[in-house]
């Protein structure tokens, strides 16, 4: 049972790594900035999941703390970037009226 458990944990971590690569491809391709940010958010969630799987696989409790801090940082990244772009866009719209919509 322990053998199966360890193998399946490793395999699912590997699948999640491949899915992270696919999300990275989406982040590179994505035509708009929002697409890239959504893909990066997805990647961060999967990274947290992989670190948690690793904590159970290696029987190391402290890796879960690493996952927690990673989640905090990823939320901070997305929130700061989205708010900065929104604030810049609002300022630009105030300067040039309603016609100032542009691809951010």
């Amino acid at each position: 049972m322990t053998q199966i458990r360890d193998t399946l944990l490793t395999v699912s971590a590997g699948i999640l790594a491949v899915l992270m690569l696919a999300a990275l491809v989406r982040a590179v391709l994505g035509p708009r900035f929002t697409d890239r940010l959504v893909a990066v958010n997805m990647m961060n969630t999967m990274a947290v999941a992989i670190i948690c799987i690793l904590a159970v696989r290696l029987r190391d409790g402290f890796l879960v703390d690493v996952a927690l801090v990673y989640g905090l940082l990823s939320f901070l990244t997305v929130a700061v970037l989205a708010r900065t772009v929104s604030a810049r866009q609002r300022r630009r719209q105030q300067e040039s009226g309603e016609g100032g919509r542009r691809n951010g």
């Binding site: 049972m1 199966i4 458990r5 399946l8 944990l9 699912s12 699948i15 999640l16 899915l19 696919a22 999300a23 989406r26 994505g30 708009r32 900035f33 929002t34 697409d35 940010l37 959504v38 893909a39 958010n41 997805m42 969630t45 999967m46 947290v48 999941a49 948690c52 799987i53 904590a55 159970v56 409790g61 879960v64 703390d65 996952a67 927690l68 989640g71 905090l72 939320f75 997305v78 929130a79 989205a82 708010r83 772009v85 929104s86 866009q89 609002r90 719209q93 919509r101 542009r102 691809n103 951010g104």
Partner: protein, 106 residues
Amino acid sequence: MDSVRTALGLALLLFGVFVFFSAVLGLFRFRTALNRMHAAAVGDALGVFCLLLGLMLMQGLSLPALKLLLVLLFLWITSPVASHLLAEMEVLTSPDIRAECKEEKR
């Protein structure tokens, strides 16, 4: 009893990986950013829930399991906030947002 718990945890873990796969598939299949956010939210909510619940079942009642519960709660609280900020940004910056989603006239 112990092997039943491990088997249940492994089943939940594999289902969570499947949910993540469908979320990434949605990132590629949908066309607009708001639709892609819909697909990504599935992975953020259901995928993380199933995966971490499976890991908690495998871990048993201990301090790491409680920390995993903390990670789950944190992700569930912050993911809607991040989605809201991303949607606000998309609505503000998209040049053809009115063509993408029809708003109702009042």
